[in-house]
């Protein structure tokens, strides 16, 4: 040991590290790995200077580590063993070299060699892996092996290494706790050793990366909830250790909220979004970090963009929460009906059993309406939800401590995470969503961000639509649909139909449906009046006309450049196209006119469209599956209408 020229060893090692960090671009064009190879040579020299590896004591059976330790390759050690004495010290030093050689080989795409070195490193450290001296290096070596195996697409092996690191960290923090030695300190003179604080910082960084790698592994294994949890933890740790860029962090948290929204975990989503708001607000106060902003002019641009994007995430939160509520409280369609059965003989609590002559349709009147029974059920459930709130919150991953935690809670308190059960609660969410619509539109203006702008407007329209569900007064509901139309119609005027085909179709369809709903509402209102006057009739017909116009525009958009309607309708537009035809048919049947000739004409057109549906579905059986319900009803109308029309003609002939 005395023969080892320590100073020389350290020097060489430092030189090797410096070379390893040389950017590949700085190397000559044809030799991108030149610096790596030089570093490798130096490391090999250091290794030689350190002398041979201590005898492989670890080859002996597991009994060495304590009885019943169950200590297979990646299991937890039973106790902390400090590397004391010259032999152990040498082993540790060699382990550091092996580690760097391993990483070096991996960087030059020599995975097998890399693996060999890293495994050797692990073997040398194995006994001492829980010690203050060795744990950081051990975990890093395992993590690198995890990454290596992922490149070989053996993801389970990667998982094993990474989970082992995770467990080891946890055990260390529990049993030892003090910030461990950082591997780079091995070959540094005493004066240059790191502070406790710095050691802790680096060790925590290693663990954060460990969690991040596990998040990726779980994603590849399709364990999505777990992956999200680990992403969540990674974000949390970035905050705790002040290792983040506020804009970047905020957008990541906001994106994660979308995952939670998709899984209907609104409490978690709300937490992420609130945190995003708070951290985003820190922009400007924190100086540039590892991710230095690119060009001068670009930072403010990104700031506004991210702000708009976070706003859009919030919109989706409000919208999805409201829609989820609607889904749980709306009257369902009776399946017995969809089979074409005219009366319901199932014991469903929706339909009133009827007979062939008086079908159970009466109960189908309120399809899509708020079901009071369901509402009361949910109200009763609410109390339970509130009771459970605390326990759920404790289990969830919470961002920040102290001041940060308070700031986040302040935002959270203003937003509900529970499904709204009545208009008042729905309105709260609506207003919040609307606020974010305006914020989003500040950045996503139509000139420059057409698609995004339109999506925001569509969301705004959807907010109104779902609010209408909770509104009990029919006139006010009409007004909401009217607002929707007012915001959607201008969009269709300016858009180039060639570039924005899909979006145009979506808007046309939505406007048509809004007019359709409005018409039905007016009809319902008229039905309740004793004497519906000509004014309301005119209104109904106008709405009918408008709905027809837009359904027709939509259907026309399916035609080819020669204006021919396709023989075979594409899969992606099949259902909407069929629905459009169906509603057009129904609309023609609902035009109110005193002129019998006109009435007959309308019925004929209506029949034509119903026929189209029946015929098309016969020729294309896959279409029949898409619109079971409408097909049944169309068939019904095809058989009923001719008779009705005949009766009409007879009546006309007589007068």
């Amino acid at each position: 040991m005395a023969n080892v020229p320590w100073a020389e060893v350290c020097e060489k090692f430092q030189a090797a590290l410096t070379l390893s960090r040389v950017e590949l671009q700085k190397n000559p064009e044809k030799e991108p790995y030149k610096s790596k190879y030089s570093a490798r040579a130096l490391l090999e020299e250091v290794k030689a200077l350190l002398g041979p590896a201590p005898e492989d004591e670890d080859e002996r059976p597991e009994a060495e580590d304590g009885p019943g330790a169950g200590d297979h390759a990646l299991g937890l050690p039973a106790e902390v063993v400090e590397p004391e004495g010259p032999v152990a010290q040498r082993a540790v030093r060699l382990a550091v070299i092996e580690f760097h050689l391993g990483v070096n080989h991996i960087d030059t795409e020599e995975l097998s060699a890399g693996e060999e070195h890293l495994v050797k490193c692990l073997r040398l450290l194995r006994r001492y892996r829980l010690s203050h001296d060795c744990i950081s290096l051990y975990i890093q070596a395992q993590n690198n092996l995890g990454i290596l195996w992922s490149e070989r697409e053996e993801i389970e092996t990667a998982q094993a290494y990474l989970e082992s690191s995770e467990a080891l960290y946890t055990q260390y923090m529990k049993e030892v706790g003090c910030p461990p030695l950082d591997p780079t300190e091995r070959f540094l003179p005493e004066e240059e050793k790191l502070t406790e604080q710095e050691r802790s910082k680096r060790f925590e960084k290693v663990y954060t990366h460990n969690l991040y790698y596990l998040a990726q592994v779980y994603q590849h294994l399709e364990m999505f909830e777990k992956a999200a949890h680990y992403c969540h933890s990674t974000l949390k740790r970035q905050l705790e250790h002040n290792a983040y860029h506020p804009i970047e962090w905020a957008i990541n948290a906001a994106t994660l909220s979308q995952f939670y929204i998709n899984k209907l975990c609104f409490m978690e989503a709300r937490h992420c979004l609130s945190a995003a708001n708070v951290i985003f607000g820190q922009t400007g106060k924190i100086s540039a970090t590892e991710d230095t902003p690119e060009a001068e002019g670009e930072v403010p641009e990104l700031y506004h963009q991210r702000k708009g994007e976070i706003a859009r995430c919030w919109i989706k939160y409000c919208l999805t929460l409201m829609q989820n509520a609607q889904l749980s409280m709306q009257t369902e369609f009776c399946p017995g009906w969809s089979a074409g059965v005219q009366w319901c003989d199932r014991s469903c609590n929706l339909c009133i059993p009827g007979s062939k002559d008086s079908p159970a349709s009466a109960s189908q009147d309120n399809i899509g309406e708020l079901d009071l029974d369901k509402q009361s059920e949910l109200r009763a459930l609410r109390k339970k939800e509130l009771d459970e709130e605390e326990s759920i919150r404790k289990k969830a991953v919470q961002f920040g401590t102290g001041e940060l935690c308070d700031a986040i809670s302040a935002v959270e308190e203003k937003v509900s995470y529970l499904r709204p059960l009545d208009f008042e609660e729905a309105r709260e969410l609506f207003l919040l969503g609307q606020h974010y619509v305006f914020e989003a539109k500040e950045f996503f203006q139509i000139d420059g961000y057409v698609t995004d702008h339109i999506e925001v407007v569509q969301d705004h329209s959807a907010l109104f639509k779902v609010l209408a569900f909770f509104e009990t007064d029919m006139e006010r509901r009409c007004k909401m649909h009217k607002r929707r139309i007012a915001m959607l119609e201008p969009l269709t005027v300016d858009l180039n139909p060639q570039y924005y085909l899909l979006v145009n179709r979506q808007i046309q369809f939505e406007i048509a449906h809004a007019y359709y709903d409005m018409m039905d509402l007016k009809v319902a209102i008229a039905d309740r009046l004793r004497d519906p006057d000509s004014h309301i009739v005119k209104k109904i017909n106008n709405l009918n006309k408008s709905a027809l116009k837009y359904y027709q525009l939509f259907l026309d958009s399916l035609r080819d450049p020669n204006k021919v309607f396709p023989e075979h309708i594409g899969e992606d537009v099949l259902r909407p196209a069929m629905l459009a035809k169906f509603r057009v048919a129904r609309l023609y049947g609902k035009i109110i006119t005193a002129d019998p000739k006109k009435e007959l004409e309308n019925l004929a057109t209506s029949l034509e469209h119903y026929k189209f549906i029946v015929d098309y579905c016969e020729k294309h059986p896959e279409a029949a599956q898409e619109i079971e319900v409408e097909l049944e009803l169309s068939k019904e109308m095809v058989s009923l209408l001719p008779t009705k029309m005949e009766r009409f003609r007879t009546k006309m002939a007589l007068t």
Binding site: A158, D291, T320
Partner: protein, 344 residues
């Protein structure tokens, strides 16, 4: 449509004793797995010896002497002519060249002066067509633009000198014009020679020209766009029909550049080392969790009388019956390239 083209062995490959394991048979390309082949007892080996892939076109360009040889002209006759006929009808066309660095993309797209590739030939074809446009004088207008995408930034390769450093252009969407690159210069061309000149100028301006970055052409995409406007008669009224041809020379696949692949998520199960990519991981998670099903989307209507309201179908594929919409919003992280080429 997808075409595959096989090039001859390079000098280095020949020196190292490389063998050709690709075979073309009509519209099928076959690859032989040498490792499987060389085993003494092939029995019980479940791996395929030969894997076959079907394409719309397969071009064998290994040996010019070979009767099967697909020359630049052959490739043009198939692919180039289709582009031209589509453009004449008013369609937008996009032609991608994809492959590893050194696989011959630039040869196919541009080609040496002695045997030019698709881009020059397509331009030539357009000019020939223009001569044939008998109906109206100067009835066709051709403009070209040339941009490069490097590190997610867009640069104009034909920018008039005056700017020392090429600055970044912004990609935006216009309601009338669709997605476009703001500030990208368009150059009117009236003959074939001009086009070649501009092409060469643009290529010289590519990031490869910058000395301190090596093999950068393997990391940047170049898009050469031809705007073709024809005067036509529609319902006996003079009108214009505009089409665009995008000729895209894609960057070599990332594996060719070792330092690059460490920073990006590649296909497969590779783990990203740096936390810089946390955002991408989260985006992917959120994206994968999206559903287009009816459970989140709604389809309510107030119904009256015997007619039933329209409801979500059992298969639950659409929202409100309309063409589908997503239930969550994923902040945009995609590449500039895909966004830019959305319209064709």
């Amino acid at each position: 449509r997808v075409a595959v083209r096989v090039r001859p062995l390079s000098k280095r490959e020949t020196k190292e004793g490389g063998r050709i394991i690709v075979e073309v048979d009509g519209k099928v390309a076959k690859i032989r797995n040498l490792k499987v082949d060389s085993r003494p007892d092939g029995f019980g080996d479940s791996r395929e010896k030969v894997m076959a892939f079907g394409f719309d076109y397969c071009y064998w360009s290994v040996n010019p002497e070979d009767p099967q040889y697909a020359s630049q002209d052959v490739v043009f006759q198939d692919l180039g002519m289709e582009v031209l006929s589509g453009v004449a009808k008013g369609y937008n066309i996009c032609l991608f060249a994809y492959g590893q660095t050194g696989s011959g993309k630039t040869y196919t797209m541009l080609g040496p002066p002695a045997s030019v590739g698709l881009t020059p030939r397509i331009c030539e074809g357009l000019f020939i067509r223009e001569k044939d446009c008998a109906s109206l004088p100067s009835s066709c207008r051709i403009k070209v633009s040339f941009l490069e995408i490097y590190n997610e930034r867009v640069r104009d390769l034909l920018k008039q000198s005056g700017q020392k450093k090429p600055y970044t252009l912004r990609v935006r969407e216009h309601p009338e014009m669709g997605p476009y690159v703001q500030g990208l210069s368009q150059h009117v061309v009236t003959n074939y020679k001009q086009v070649i000149q501009l092409l060469e100028e643009g290529i010289a301006n590519r990031i490869t020209a910058a000395t301190h970055v090596h093999e950068a052409s393997s990391r940047s995409h170049a898009i050469f766009t031809i705007h073709y406007t024809q005067a036509i008669l529609e319902n006996n009224l003079p009108s214009e029909m505009a089409s665009k041809i995008n000729l895209v020379d894609l960057a070599g696949s990332e594996r060719a550049d070792p330092s690059y692949c460490k920073d990006r998520i590649t296909e497969g199960a590779n783990i990203n080392k740096s936390l810089v990519t946390l955002g991408i991981v989260i985006s992917t998670l959120a994206q994968n969790s999206q559903v287009f099903s009816s459970c989140q989307s709604l389809n309510s209507s107030v119904s009256n009388g015997g007619d039933s309201g329209i409801l979500s179908s059992p298969s639950g594929t659409s929202s409100g019956g309309a063409p589908s919409r997503r239930q969550s919003y994923i902040p945009y992280r995609d590449s500039v390239l895909t966004w830019l080429l959305k319209d064709s």
